[in-house]
Every structure is written in C-alpha cells, then in structure tokens.
C-alpha cells in the first residue's frame, strides 16, 4: 500500500490556511473596520437628498401692502447624457427660454451631468416646457423675488440674488428673518432614479420666512418719488433725496433717492443707483446746520432773542475770509433775523459767543458724527471732526454747515428733534415682523434722548417759521399752514484734495409742518441743480410733498407760532 504524500498534504493545508486566513483578514477589514464607511458609501449611492426651498417672507408697507413678494418658479436644468438630439431640443427650448439656440446647444453637449439652462423661470412657462416631454431636461423647485411696484423704494428694499439671498437694502439687513429655513427630502432611489417602495422617504418641511412690515407708506413713497423725479428734471440736478419722517415716532414714511433702479431687473442697472443716498451718502449740510447753532445758542442762553448784532457781509476768520451769500452793508440782526436771512456771518458771530466746546457738544446731541441706528446696511455716520482736530476756522465753518458732513437722514433727525419738543428720536424703517404662524412681533420703541429743552425747541421752531414766512424759504409756504424750515446751499468738497467745486452746490430744504404741532418732517435735497440755491431748487420740492402730506395725513393747520423778535422791533 502506497504511503500518503504527507508533505504535499501539509503544504496544501498551509496554502489553504493562508488563503482562508487572507480572505478572513480581508473580510474583517471590509466588514468590520471599514464597515461604516462602506455602508455610508452605499447609502450615498442609493439615497438622494433634495433641498426644499423655504418661501421668503414678504416685505410690506405700513398698511400691509406688499412691497416685495416671492413667487413660485423653477430652475430648468439638463443632464446632457440623456439629451437625445441637442439641436432639436435647443430649437424647441430657445423661444421659450428667450435664449439663442447655439448657446443652448453648447450647454446641452457639455461633458457633464448637470447644467442650468435657465434660472427662476415662471411656473407656467416651466409647465409648458415640461409638457414638451424633452429627454434629459429637468426642473428644480425654487422661488423668484418680485417687486410689484417696480422701482418704488428700490434702494430701501434692496434686491435678492439668484440663489435667493438678500444682497442689499432691507433684503440684506433682514436676511435671517426673511429667508426662513429650507427643508430637505431624503429618498432612496433605484439605479434608474425611481424611488424604492418601502425605502427611505423622509421629508423635513421648510419653514417659511417671516414678513417684515416697514414704516414706509407706499402711496406717500410713490408721491415723494414722483415729486423728486420732477424736481431733478426741472432743476437739471444730478440726483436727489427725499425723506419724510414722523417726528414723534421716528417712522420713516418715505425715503427716495434719485436716480433709482428696478429691483426686478437689477443686473442691468447702473451700480451707483443701488445706493440709498439718504443713508449712505454724507454731504456738507450748509445752512440747514444753522438750526443746531441757533438751538445751542438759545439753549445755552449765549444770546438773547432780542439781542441785536451788527453783522457785516464778510469777516476774517484765521487766514480766510468768509462772507454771506449776497453783499450787504452792516446790518442789525437778531438771532431770529440771522436764521431767517441765513446769514453766515451772523451765525459765526453767534457761534463765537457759544464757544467750540458747546458747539461740539450740541452737534453730538443732535446725532451728528455717529450713525442714527436706523439699521440700514452701509449707513454712514457722517464726518464730525473731534474737537482736538478743530482748526481756527472750524467753529466758524461748522456753525454754517461746512467742514462737517451728515447724511440726509441725520439732518432730517435734527429737524425732527426740534419738531419733537427737543427730544431726539432714532429714525426707524421697520414696524415689526410677522412670523409664518401669523404672530406679530412689533419692533421695540426707538430710543430717544433729550437734545435741547422744549422751550428751546419752540423758540427755534419760531425762527424756522419766520425763515419760511419772510426769509429764504418763501417758496415752501402753503396758504393756511405755518411751515417751519430752513434752506441750505452747500458747497461740495473735492474728493481728492482740500477745496470745493466751483459753482456746484447741494441745494436743500428741511422743515416740518404745522410749525406749532409738527406732524411730519420733510427733507428735500438736490445734488448740483443748475438753479443752485436751496430756496429756489429744493423749497418747491418740499412744498409739493408737504401739500400731499396734508391730504395724506389729514394734517390740520394748527395755531400759528408767534414770530421771534426782529431787529428794530419794539417788543
């Protein structure tokens, strides 16, 4: 009998042991140590997660009228692998998507699995395309921001990008509230992309964004914009700004900047038109700043109301000569006359009695040199040089509004302070929010602070009323109503070096009505009008808006204020 080949058996056994050992080790690696990773990879292959976009919250005016809404839309995409005839597909899609056939063919023949053909297509159009049954063409749920009033309050509202993110204005400021929270749908799919019955199918519904209710009055905004556009055209100005403010609450009823743009088609607009000049652009306020000088002087009793000053037409200050707008002999003027006639020299003389420190303190009290806190993206705080940087001419020039810069909103807030019995109120653009469940959350009351006494405010209001009735602001008068306001004609500083543009001005008129019981503050500002002066270019714009305010807000005439003493009067 032949002996078994023991050695071969041993070798075979060893080889088999090694082979099985290797398999065992490999299986251990695959199924134990790397199990989680492979499980995840397998799941990723089967499971598809689709983001469900949240409906963006509306932006409403103060009466609940929609200023910005979101509409259902679809993104049209293609998976070029499944497009059978790119030319035929492109030819069918081109007229519907308003695109060139060649461009679409280029997209449809790309070596990729996903390419957008059009973004934010209207729902009806998407349904028409879907009805064509084109292979390789798909749709994604999305939404499209729509501004039903077109360019109305465009710079205030801002706009939204293709991915639904706020890019400017209130859309950017309240992005967190408006955007909501996107949902997600998780589905387990077979290799053909069809859902597996009984497989994973989980949906986390999106949470819609909250609605933001602004303080803007849509009708008033429209009227202010029309008046501004007409004034810019009539005075051949480069642009302009209008702000309408409730002095008691700080509510901004209208805020217009010209030129504007259509946020429905913002991509084709000039970039400069996106700016909300009322908040982002600082200008030298000129004579409208004299109201602070007057208020400070009255509040500090630096000069009596009946005290008469001998005011020349020009004056040496430091190394410079400053002068009034028009040449005149030495005039006897009270502080009321100085404000009414908008005398630079008279204002400088008042400021000199007040002193630098007090002047600086009152400029700060009225909110210059810091942002108003209205909460608008890109708000400028203006320019108020710190006291230690003041030169020997600073007090003089700042007294009549040159050498400092303020935004139109800051200046409107200054006049609102006078109108509100000397109490500064932070302007606001938002009344509150309304959550997706309908709960309304009102915005907190805006902070206030006392800038001057109520008595001082009334005295300054009397001066401003005189400025309109008899002074430089007569173009702002409205029969039956006493208007308080001040003109401004400010030079424009050169951007790159010290000095000012020759013959170019910012014309402004800021005021309120009725003078005794102010209901509304209006700031009308025109950039470089050919008519130059605030009393000629901006006062009529103020008047037109004020007339509308009387009807819109049902403003009664109010009891007229007593005019301040004039030089030579017996009182």
């Amino acid at each position: 009998m032949k002996r078994p080949p023991v050695r071969r058996l041993v070798v075979l056994f060893a080889v088999m042991t090694l082979a099985f050992g290797t398999i065992f080790v490999r299986l251990t690696v695959l199924q134990v140590s790397q199990a989680a990773s492979f499980r995840d990879r397998a799941l990723d292959q089967r499971v598809r997660r689709v983001e469900l976009p949240a409906v963006r919250g509306q932006i409403l005016d103060r009466n609940g009228e929609a200023l910005a809404i979101s509409l259902e839309a679809r993104d049209v995409y293609a998976d070029p692998r499944y497009v059978r005839d790119p030319w035929a597909t492109a030819a069918e899609l081109a007229p519907l998507l308003d695109a060139e056939t060649g461009e679409l063919v280029e997209l449809l023949t790309r070596d990729t699995t996903f390419v957008y053909l059009a973004r934010q297509v209207e729902r009806d159009l998407a349904e028409r395309i879907e009805g064509l049954g084109l292979a390789g063409i798909g749709f994604l749920e999305t939404s499209r921001r729509y501004y039903p009033a077109g360019s109305l309050a465009a710079q205030v509202l801002g706009f939204v990008g293709l991915d639904g993110q706020g890019l400017s204005g209130l859309e950017l400021r309240y992005e967190d509230l408006l955007a909501g929270e996107p949902g997600e749908r998780t589905q387990e799919l077979d290799p053909y992309g069809q859902p597996i019955v009984g497989g994973v199918d989980v949906e986390r519904p999106p949470v819609p964004g909250s609605a933001v209710q602004t303080t803007i009055d849509r009708e008033f905004q429209f009227h202010a914009e029309q008046a501004l556009a007409d004034a810019v055209q009539a005075n051949r100005a480069r642009g302009g700004t209008v702000i309408v403010l409730d002095p008691q609450t700080g509510d901004i009823l209208a805020m217009a900047s010209y030129p504007w743009f259509d946020p429905n088609a913002f991509a084709g607009s000039r970039r400069g038109t996106y700016r909300n000049r009322a908040v982002t652009d600082a200008f030298e306020p000129g004579s409208t700043n004299k109201v602070i000088t007057a208020a400070a002087a009255v509040d500090r009793r630096a000069i009596g109301l009946r005290h008469e000053l001998s005011v020349p037409w020009q004056m040496e200050v430091g190394d410079f000569t400053i002068h009034d707008a028009h040449e005149h002999g030495i005039q006897r003027m009270t502080i009321g006359d100085i404000i009414a006639e908008s005398s630079n020299i008279g204002t400088v003389m008042v400021a000199q009695r007040l002193g630098e420190s007090a002047m600086d303190a009152y400029l700060s009290r009225f909110g210059l040199g810091r942002s108003t806190g209205v909460g608008f993206p890109g708000e400028s705080s203006g320019i108020l040089p710190p006291l230690y940087e003041w030169t020997d001419t600073s007090l003089a020039t700042i007294a009549y509004g040159q050498g400092i810069a303020a935004t139109p909103l800051q200046m409107a807030a200054v006049y609102a302070t006078i109108a509100n019995d000397g109490r500064w109120v932070q302007p606001r653009l938002v009344l509150g929010t309304r959550g997706p469940d309908g709960t309304v959350e009102p915005a907190p009351r805006p902070p206030t602070r006392r800038a001057v006494t109520a008595r001082t405010a009334t005295t300054v209001a009397r001066m401003l009323a005189k400025a309109v009735a008899e002074g430089t602001g007569t173009n702002a008068t409205i029969a039956g109503y006493q208007i308080a306001g001040k003109t401004g004609t400010a030079r424009i500083p050169l951007p790159d070096r010290p000095g000012y543009y020759e013959g170019q001005y910012v014309a402004s008129f800021i005021g309120f009505l009725p003078a005794s019981d102010p209901q509304v503050v209006i700031a009308a500002i025109l950039d470089r009008p050919v008519t130059d002066y605030g009393g000629i270019a901006a006062a009529p714009l103020f008047q037109r808006i004020a007339r509308y305010a009387i009807t819109r807000l049902s403003i009664e005439p109010g009891r007229p204020l007593r005019p301040p003493p004039t030089a030579g009067s017996e009182r």
């Binding site: 509306q58 009228e65 929609a66 809404i69 509409l71 259902e72 729902r123 729509y146 039903p148 009033a149 077109g150 360019s151 109305l152 849509r218 009708e219 905004q221 429209f222 009227h223 029309q226 008046a227 409205i478 029969a479 039956g480 109503y481 009725p514 005794s516 037109r544 007339r547 509308y548 009387i550 009807t551 009664e556 005439p557 109010g558 009891r559 007229p560």
Partner: protein, 157 residues
Amino acid sequence: MSLAARRAAHPEAPEPPHGAGAPRRPREAEGAKRPPRDRAAPATPAIAPRRKRHHVGFAIFATVVVGSMVLGIVTLNALLAQQSFRIDEAERRIDALETEQLDLVHEQARLSAPGRIAAWARRNGMRLPDDIRSLHAFGDTRSAPAGADTSSREQGG
C-alpha cells in the same frame, strides 16, 4: 322513553353530566366490559347526529368569527385607505389654494401698485391730487376752524 321513565327503570344509573364532552363518554353500567380495541365501537344512534350537528355549528361559528374579523379588517383597511385618499386630496387642495393665494397676492400687489394706477389715471385724463388749496371761513362763524387765529377773524382775514 322519557328521561324520567328511564330513571325509574334504572334507578342506579347516574344522571348524565351536563357539558359538551358528556355525550362522547357515556357511563357504562357497572361490570360491563370494554369492547375490544380492533373492533370499532358502533356509534350509538343518539350520539352521531349530535356530533355532526356540533361540527357544523362550530364551522358556522368559526366562519362567522373569521369572516367578521376579515370583513372588519377589510373594512378598516378600506376606511383607512379612504381616509388617506381624503388626506391626499386635501393636501392637493391646500397646495392648489396656496398657489392660488400667492397668485392673488401677486395680482393684487401688481394691480394696486401706485405707479400703475397713476399711469392709468393719466391715460384717462385724471389729475393726481398734488395741488391742494386750503379754504378759510370768513365772517360770523360759530367756531373758528382749527388753528385759526381769532384776531384774523376780527380783521376779516
């Protein structure tokens, strides 16, 4: 023979027990031998029909119970399915109404836009209310209008 008569004839015979199993094992008389195993015991004429009846009754009972359970389950299932169809339909209606509501909001906002109304008004020869005039009452009025200076009344304007 009646039961009372049988009792009288066989006074030692016990009373038959009550219950379902009673007919299967009738008590034999004392000292009676069991029949051999290989010979099938001839069914007593009284017991066979009762067993058959019992099977039929049980079958009917089971059929009724099972049938009613099946019917109940089917009915419940149908009700649930119906309910789910209703929910599905309601969800579809909610979706449609939401879309319609959004469309209406869109339409309302577009149509009520001040610019559109102003353009329409201009096209139809209307004026915007931008130029107001205040009228003052003169003469012997009972009360002065709000804000009017009383001295102006004396001066006639």
